[in-house]
């Protein structure tokens, strides 16, 4: 049978590619892997689409997240973009704030960059568990208001929130520093064992059980003092 494309034989078929094509392709491959990891995490951890905040589940989710992303090569821009994908839900069929925040925290903790800034004020959704187990030597700056359990389990890193936090800020933190430029919610510093939390605005209430560490409001030490209730 005749080749109907005969006349195009002489045309070179390899097209001119700009560096842009390579950059975009590479980035999309990484994003696909990150997304795949997140979806796998959600499917395993959230069988009934309900995820309860229990310490063991949080730890399990974090461990699974770390396992997913350990071998990935990504940069802070990828983390930012992943947050945008979670916010827009274009490629993510279900966004569950708890596991999402844990996954982001894993990405931050395992990133090669020491200083990462996330512009959360651009997003509609609220993320919880950001800064979970932030290790020593890492600084995470969150621009905008954040959800609950921010800085939970902080492990020596420096967490700066340029906005307000939800409840349970710094819950169970071991060491490190949390700076909140606006307000903090209830049960701030609950179960903390070390480190410092500095809040420039209001604190709705301090956690009832503090094992160590300090909480400051506008440079004034609030805990350890057996104080609870709104200040």
């Amino acid at each position: 049978m005749r080749n109907p494309f005969q006349e195009f034989r002489s045309l070179p078929y390899e097209r001119k590619e700009l560096p842009l094509n390579r950059i975009v392709k590479g980035k999309e491959a990484v994003m696909a892997q990150i997304l795949e990891g997140y979806l796998r995490l959600v499917e395993e951890e959230v069988k009934d689409l309900v995820w309860l905040v229990e310490h063991s589940r949080v730890v399990k989710a974090y461990t699974a997240a770390v396992k997913s992303i350990r071998d990935l090569h990504y940069d802070p821009d990828d983390i930012d973009e992943f947050c945008a994908e979670l916010d827009s839900s274009n490629r993510i069929p279900y966004m569950i704030s708890g596991p999402a925040g844990i996954y982001i925290s894993a990405l931050v903790n395992l990133s090669t960059e020491d200083r990462i800034t996330l512009r959360l004020k651009d997003f509609q959704r609220t993320f919880h568990f950001l800064g979970y187990r932030l290790p020593e030597g890492k600084t995470l700056i969150l621009q905008g208001d954040v959800g609950d359990f921010v800085g939970a389990g902080l492990s020596g890193g420096r967490l700066i929130v340029e906005g307000s936090t939800g409840n349970w800020c710094g819950a169970g933190m071991m060491k490190g520093e949390i700076l909140v430029t606006e307000h903090a919610g209830q049960n701030t510093g609950e179960w903390m064992r070390g480190g410092e939390i500095h809040v420039d605005g209001r604190i709705r209430s301090i956690g009832k059980t503090l094992f160590g560490g300090r909480i400051y409001q506008r440079e004034r030490l609030l805990a350890p003092q057996d104080l609870s209730g709104e200040i």
């Binding site: 001119k16 590619e17 700009l18 560096p19 842009l20 094509n21 950059i23 975009v24 980035k27 999309e28 821009d77 973009e81 945008a84 827009s88 274009n90 512009r119 651009d122």
Partner: protein
Amino acid sequence: MDRPSSKEKDLLKEIWPRVRRRHLYPELPHPVWEENLERVALEIKEKRISLSRGFVEEMSQVMDEEEVVGGLLDHAVSHYLYCPWDFSTHLKLYSEAKRVLKDKQMAMRATDYFMDVVADTQCVSQKESPLPRLYAHVKRGIMDEAIHALYQRIWGVNLGVEGYEEVARKLSRLPYLDRRRWPETIRRFSKVVQSLLEMEERFGGLNRPSPMGSHGLQNYSSQEIEQGLKDLAAASESPAEFKEIVEDFEEDLLEAASPNERGMGLGPGRSLEADILYYMKLAENYNLPIRKTPMHKSGSLYPHHHVPWEVGRPFQDIDPWTSFGKIMPGITQIWERREGEVFGEDEGTPDCIVMIDSSGSMINPRQQLSYAVLGAACACDAYLRNDARVAVYNFSDANAGGAQILPFNRHRFEIYRAICHYFGGGTKLHLEDIEQLQTGRNPDIFLITDMQITNLEALISYFNEHANRVTAVHIGDNEHVQTFRRSMKLRKNISIYGVEKKEDIPKIVLGKIQEYFARPSG
């Protein structure tokens, strides 16, 4: 003003055909030289490209003049060919940028820059263009530096920009050449460049046009603007969303409005009534074709064509002339007769009275998309396009002055203004108002309501006494609806449609009109 020299004219005459051929012959008029372009290299107005003589002369000192002109033309043609493609896309991009930046000026600048990046990158990726060499020498502001730093990364060229690493890195990740993802891409683009735009604003650079010109409405024909508004209306979820975007372009829209649009309330000296414009444009997405003059059989037979005569066929239809006086098979021919088909009398389209309920139980059309108003709008357009007249009776609590009557006319904007009016009160109509709109030739009546009318019984009696074709579209179901249905059951001239999904209203209205147009009113 000095006219262009013959050397300049020759330069354009030589380069423009090459650029056209390179871009596969875009339908653009021959570019011209312009003396008075301040601070920009080129301008595009209604597809005409104007090149700044001053800019070209200045750049010719550091690079070849032909390359300067070629690069500028490549840039201009790429905008036409690739981005923004049309006014509708321009509006979509702007609305996404505004969502992030929240400021009109910044959103416009971000959109301009985004479109530049897309158009230039497309050009450089597909053609051998002198554009990179041009950019290497052009004067830059803050944003221009950042954009050129981006170009260095994504084109793999050296434009002599230092710094802006982080911005360029973030911007280089965006899929500029994937048209389907432009809305998402410009959002991310705007986020990244926001701080730079704020810096430009602080230093007063935001009002300074980009060297390659800005992209206002003057680039589009009035037809493109109309189409763009239509697409924007269809894509907007509410009149408020449409209004927010359109009002930012109000001055340009009013300036650019064609004579037709001026008749509809747009044009210099008038303010833009974006809510009404929204429904006007949205209804245009539901056009019914113009009714053609019907054909019908004439009822009489006439000789149509010849067929060979066969033995056994009757003799009376033999054509002696074409048979040459012979009766023999193969020579003799008879007439085959057919009933003629002629164009019927064009009965014309009856006028239409649109009765629209704007009581408190109906949606306020200025705040949310009201399918009731849209259905009424579709009905109006269908009749107006067939050269009929439309009257509007917009009712809420007529006793308390909540009624608006617009007599029969063909003024589209006024009709829409009447339809879009929202009273938000009770629901009672005055039958005398409807009666005064009746003409000798029974107009069609379209009633769109939720049937929670206080004097429904009176309305039922009224319809029973009149021969107008009535189409009643009601939203929801209630006892009043049941009453209405029961009372109108035997009336052949009255059709009642309940609507489950409000989105079906335009289809119902248009379906009924199509039926009416197929069989003229008796």
